[in-house]
């Protein structure tokens, strides 16, 4: 069955992304925010651009909105399919903590909200180096909050994983880490990413951690995946899925590179001595 986004996500997309683009005074026919598609794609760099600078007539906010218009839907569908398969209407017994690395405009959070039960609460740490992305993510999240009967998220947005604040002591709560298309970024250093992630996880939980990796099926964007995978295996994660395959959507089929890693709750308490 093709994945179908829940109505509340479609409504958000219609009002906050498509509607805003279409109603913008610069939009005319195929010129969205006053630029043609090729110009728009160049401006958003296929999702890997530095979004906080203006490009031509487009402000940072315009570029993020165009990214959401052209690119976010596909990622939303992929992650919705992944969360649908993972949770399938049967959420973990404790509230999730979600760490979305390279979060863009709340894409992972929206996908999760679409698959969790009404009224569930989760903590969300969105990490993205772009201020404009983080701000638009919060805008979308606030719009979701205003809809009755949706799961609620308690959010924080940071530019760097090391900036995340967490004052509660570590708990046994399950953590889900989303690494969606992040490794396609040519400037990313996998060792630094994994060290920062492990440091954050140690502050959040002693409970189970699941890492969802998605990416383009092309070879180049996945060139650092082996180092990423091996680093996680060394850190005690096990690889439970690792493949390239289709996600069936109402708009057709998208092929995605994906992997799922899982580490169980801490089972022994390491005391001093041997």
């Amino acid at each position: 069955m093709p994945i179908r986004l829940p109505q509340r996500l479609r409504d958000i997309r219609t009002t906050e992304i498509v509607g805003r683009v279409r109603k913008d005074p610069r939009t005319c026919g195929d010129l969205l925010l006053g630029v043609d598609r090729q110009t728009a794609m160049n401006a958003i760099g296929w999702g890997q651009a530095e979004f906080d600078e203006p490009v031509g007539s487009l402000s940072a906010e315009d570029r993020v909105l165009l990214y959401a218009y052209w690119n976010q839907l596909g990622h939303l569908e992929e992650l919705s399919e992944a969360f649908n398969q993972l949770f399938g209407g049967n959420s973990p017994s404790q509230p999730l903590i979600v760490v979305d690395l390279g979060c863009g405009p709340f894409t992972g959070g929206l996908a999760l909200i679409g698959q969790l039960s009404t009224g569930e609460l989760f903590d969300y740490i969105g990490v993205d180096r772009s201020r404009a992305m983080r701000e638009f993510g919060e805008h979308l999240a606030t719009a979701v909050d205003s809809m009755a009967g949706t799961p609620r998220s308690k959010r924080q947005w940071v530019a760097d994983i090391a900036d995340a604040t967490w004052h509660a002591p570590p708990s046994w709560r399950p953590v889900v880490v989303i690494v969606s298309f992040l490794l396609a970024s040519p400037s990313l250093h996998v060792g630094t990413l994994l060290a920062g992630l492990e440091q954050l996880l140690s502050r959040l939980t002693r409970g189970p951690t699941t890492i969802l990796y998605t990416n383009s099926p092309r070879v180049a964007p996945n060139r650092t995946y082996p180092a990423f995978r091996d680093g996680l295996l060394d850190a005690g994660f096990r690889l439970t899925a690792d493949d390239t395959g289709p996600v069936h959507t109402e708009r057709g089929e998208r092929v995605v590179r994906y992997a799922l890693f899982h580490r169980d709750s801490q089972r022994t308490l390491q005391l001093g001595g041997d």
């Binding site: 973990p92 017994s93 002591p169 046994w172 002693r206 409970g207 001595g273």
Partner: protein, 366 residues
């Protein structure tokens, strides 16, 4: 895309891991209140008995805990030899040396572990296995003695957060003294409602996160109650019992308060079980806390017990907590309650400091 479900990923059957641990090796387990430590101690004792063909000694801290071990074993028709540490070691030392246990003067009950270990220096362990419950309240000397001179393999269950004894051992001391592996962790609380667990967590400290509460919300928030006299306290307890029946535990700081409440309860509930335990009375074998009724205990003897409803009386004597031992005592007392918890203070109003120091009104109803 094909991913496993989350349920398939997280097979956190922690109790099974412990039940399936090798029987001929030492085992160290830490777990919060309600994680099933006492039941696991009894089941481990049963498995060891089957392996070695003799009832397994299971050691614990005090006589009410010994009684609890007996009741759990009896419920499952399991044959274990439940003893307090004091009693078991006294007999064991006599059996091995034909002399009484040396004491540290001027204490009547404090064993001189150094002298005992020196005396038995050439003696090997005589038993295959020994199981210890509530190990955090036993002294490091016991673990040295037990591992060198009682059993080849020790199984120790402990929760440092519930230690109340002045002669307690830290987890590091237990591990080092008994030569145990790093402890396995139990992380789930199957006893308390989430509402009760939240109050208890207010007093939680320690190396591990507060437990994951498995039960669903009950909608019944624990209550802070003022009771101006012993009569009104008794009246409240009787109301609770008549409305809900079940098992009720009354926890006091002073045995004199316990006796006063006990007398009022006996007079007004003549047709129901009402018990009081103090170590001086040594009447634990006549008490079955599982039978509907009321049991009055002090903070030492309530350790390891559980009730449908718990009234912690004399709250003004327990809070505000000013040291680790007082935090641990409050944590332990609150976690005795399965469904309902009342924190009761007496004639004197709680000080502003104590009031402000307790959990907020959304956690502890005023």
């Amino acid at each position: 895309m094909r991913l496993p479900t989350y349920d398939e990923l997280s097979s956190d059957e922690e109790q099974l891991d412990i039940l399936e641990a090798p029987l001929d090796e030492s085992l160290f387990v830490v777990g919060p209140p309600g994680s099933g430590k006492t039941s696991l101690a009894v089941w481990r004792g049963d498995a060891l008995a089957e392996l070695y063909g003799t009832a397994t000694p299971v050691i614990t801290y005090n006589r009410m805990l010994r009684r609890s071990l007996y009741l759990v074993a009896d419920e499952h028709d399991i044959d274990i030899r439940a003893s307090t540490m004091q009693s078991y070691v006294g007999k064991d030392y006599w059996h091995q040396t034909r002399t009484m246990v040396p004491k540290v003067p001027p204490h009547r009950y404090e064993y001189d572990w150094n002298q005992m270990v020196v005396r038995l220096a050439k003696k090997e362990p005589h038993a295959e296995a020994l199981v210890v419950d509530e190990g955090q309240d036993l002294p490091p000397g016991f673990f040295i003695y037990a591992s060198r001179h009682i059993a080849k393999a020790l199984t120790v269950f402990a929760d440092e957060e519930q230690a109340i004894s002045g002669k307690r051992s830290t987890l590091e001391q237990i591990k080092a003294s008994a030569g145990l592996p790093h402890p396995m962790i139990l992380s789930e609380n199957h006893r308390n409602t989430p509402e009760i667990a939240r109050v208890a967590e207010h007093f939680h400290q320690g190396q591990l996160p507060a437990a994951t509460v498995v039960r669903s919300r009950s909608g019944d928030r624990p209550k802070l109650v003022r009771s101006g006299s012993a009569e009104s306290t008794v009246g409240r307890i009787i109301n609770e019992f008549r409305n809900r029946s079940g098992s009720i535990g009354i926890v006091v700081d002073q045995n004199s308060t316990g006796r006063s409440v006990y007398k009022g309860l006996v007079d007004q509930l003549p047709e129901h079980r009402v018990d009081i335990y103090t170590s001086d009375d040594a009447n634990e074998d006549s008490i079955d806390v599982r039978v509907p009724g009321v049991t009055v205990l002090n903070k030492d003897s309530v350790k390891g017990q559980e009730f449908d409803t718990v009234f912690v009386l004399e709250l003004e004597r327990f809070v505000p907590c000013t040291n680790d031992a007082e935090f641990r005592a409050m944590y332990m007392m609150c976690t005795r309650a399965r469904d309902r918890l009342f924190l009761v203070y007496g004639r004197e109003r709680l000080s502003a400091v104590a009031e402000a120091w307790l959990p907020s009104g959304d956690v502890l109803e005023r």
